[in-house]
Amino acid sequence: MVDAAHDQVDFVPPAEVGEMELYHPKSWLTKYVFSQDAKVIAIQYSFTAIAIGMVALVLSWMMRLQLGFPETFSFIEAEDYYQFITMHGMIMVIYLLTALFLGGFGNYLIPLMVGARDMVFPYVNMLSYWIYLLAVLVLLASFFVPGGPTGAGWTLYPPQAILSGTPGSEGGILLMLISLALFIVGFTMGGLNYVVTVLQARTRGMTLMRLPLTIWGIFTATVLALLAFPALFVGAVMMTLDRMLGTSFFMPGIVQFGEQMQYGGGSPVLFQHLFWFFGHPEVYIVALPAFGIVSDLISVHARRHVFGYRLMVWAIVIIGALSFVVWAHHMYVSGMNPWFGFFFATTTLIIAVPTAIKVYNWVLTLWRGNIKLTLPMLFALGFIVTFVNGGITGLFLGNVVVDVPLSDTMFVVAHFHMVMGVAPILVVFGAIYHWYPKMTGRMLNVPMGQIHFWITFLGAYAIFLPLHYLGFLGVPRRYYEMTDTSFIPQSAETLNAFVTVIALIVGVAQLVFLFNIGWSMVKGKKSGPNPWRATSLEWQTATTPPGHGNFGPTLPVVYRWAYAFGLPGAKDDYVPQNMHPDQVAIGDTADLSGTAAQPAE
């Protein structure tokens, strides 16, 4: 018997979880539209998220056009610019990245990777998507109401967010707040499913410490989201009341146009606390799934086990826990007791430790690995580099004394775009190139993918490295234009024009990717069930794409972790998680799905 696992156990325990009763769709409508199958819901989530993400991409072009070529485009007024900023930020962070990582990848991968037939409550899972779609539609509707969408900045700070004079204070801000509340309700329904499925519905032999890191990342991020979104929900409710009923939760006494307003006695900083108590974990809600997925991509495409699996798991958990005690580092310039600044700076810098552990472990996984520069690997490598760059500028901004001069400059823009914009998006792309064959049965086109990767990766640096420099020059963010500002040199304008041109090119390159997705669905090379020769359960399904109920007549039984690559004595360089130890030496992959031999006791 040839086997090696980090947690060798000599028998597989008997089944504790009974067979799941699935909802069997009877019509086209319940099969493809109001589907209760997590895989269909995942694809619905992904398409909706990517569609609304394209809107946000176009908005970023508009902003770049204005910054690169001020006073050129008559259709971009100052009000429009602020609306573009706000909607771009909110859509990208919440409606694209959160929904895509948790609603998209979470729904698709969790049941498959833990060996379940579906999420534990498929009906609630379906409701989750439809409420998310409603939230997206409400958000889109704000483009068409009088006054347009809100222009309060994605942080929606009161009092300016709801005062007249801020674009969209008529209806846009209300629709934004309602949409956020709906998103949170919808997400909670899905999130409860993800957490309970991971905790309570795993297949035989799948201990938590054998879960692929992808699942650990998505699971921890979902827990964070379930605990962080409530703060945003409360903030949104209270601001809605301030705007609609004239309450003064966040509104101090204000004089507008020489007249004392009705508001008085509220605390604007309270909103900032609520917002960032959500907002900082949100960074990790986006980052942790990316951490998990990239670990798996690297391991599979370098044919080597993840270095320090246990430490990787604990790092994810510790980062998640720490992310709840750092929120006020977003508020250094809002005014706070210096001791609080000291506390939040310290906790912020401590997060660098588990994060650095993760980066070292990725690099050590690659070290002496058999690195194959496939498309997912390219994106994974791009992620590591970008994440390190973005993370290091985070150390600058985490320190109070360095943050104060850099705050509200382009440096901040560059930092968070690197660390939570470009880096997770690279993982999203890598993950789509990796799992697309499982979803469709066909490979994505490689030359198109190469073009997509290199333009996106190099373009992202051409865009955001200059922004760091502009930030050092003191170019403020959120300014509509900077003509005749004496401390900013002329060269800054040239640089801005350069960045704009690159941003347009990178944006167009994403169309190559979208085209590739459509083209490969029809013309792509047939992939077979396991094109990457990976070990985790989703690649061992009976059919590709996996059918209703995911696995064959019986659920797979797991004998080892997901990183059994290059075992000495094994026939292949990879051993699937559900291959019986007796079969490892002969490499008999014939009947892995479902009908595998009974476990040895």
Binding site: E19, Q36, T207, G266, L274
Partner: protein
């Protein structure tokens, strides 16, 4: 609702002591929480999330109460009712609290009879719980009416002092009352299912096609006790402070 039929627990593994055992327990095979059905696990996690919502509301209330410069009205006077002359402080709130806590008792009994497969008693006790809940909401409506019509309290203003008194009161008790109302609706729905015998016959759900089970009663009970517990905090922070 769930179908975690315990097929066989097998021989229990020897668990190491201390921290190692804690980790081993959590990361054990198939299920982290042994013998906890899915619905119950899901409700617990939802309640954790909901706890964060109510905590944020109450923390915001404390912040706003400290940030306003206008004096805060004295709750003992505002929430007093006169019976035959002398105002009795907090009398209505005391009755409401008593009713809600009694409803937790009937709910707990319903859960017990549910596990004894006593269809009749379970359904009746759930109905009693629902009626207690409905009367709580009714008294809350009475209290709101009194504040709005008689005292002139509005979400944006308040003749007795700080405007935030009215805003935060209507928001938090409204949000809690919404929770109670949703609970009452579900209590009626589940009581109906119990009465019809859906859980004895394992009738499949209309939308989910899951077999009905008495675990639904317990899951409902968890929610109801939570709503009750939240009220204790609202009572303490709002009426006694």
């Amino acid at each position: 609702m769930t179908q975690t039929t315990q097929t066989e627990t097998g021989h229990s593994l020897a668990m190491p002591d201390g921290m190692q055992g804690f980790v081993k327990d959590w990361s054990s095979d198939q299920r982290a929480f042994k013998n906890v059905p899915w619905g119950k696990a899901m409700m617990w996690i939802f309640l954790l999330s909901d706890t964060f919502i109510f905590s944020c509301f109450l923390l915001s209330y404390m912040t706003v109460r400290m940030s306003t410069t206008v004096p805060w009205p004295n709750p003992s006077e505002v929430f007093a009712l006169s019976f035959g002359g002398d105002p009795i402080p907090l009398i209505l709130i005391a009755i409401m609290t008593f009713i809600l806590i009694s409803s937790s008792g009937t709910m707990a009994m319903a859960v017990m009879f549910g596990y004894k497969r006593d269809r009749r008693k379970t359904a009746i006790l759930m109905l009693v719980t629902a009626l207690f809940g409905a009367s709580f909401v009714g008294m809350q409506a009475f209290e709101w009416t009194k504040l709005i019509v008689d005292e002139g309290v509005r979400p944006w203003s308040n003749p007795m002092g700080a405007a935030q008194f009215g805003s935060i009161f209507f928001m938090i008790t409204g949000f809690h009352g919404f929770h109670v109302s949703v609970g009452v609706i579900f209590l009626f729905a589940i009581a109906r299912k119990v009465w019809r015998g859906d859980y004895d016959n394992e009738t499949p759900g209309f939308f989910t096609s899951r077999k009905g089970s008495y675990e639904s009663v317990e899951v409902m009970g968890l929610y109801w006790h939570f709503v009750d517990l939240v009220w204790v905090f609202i009572f303490a922070f709002f009426y006694l402070w």
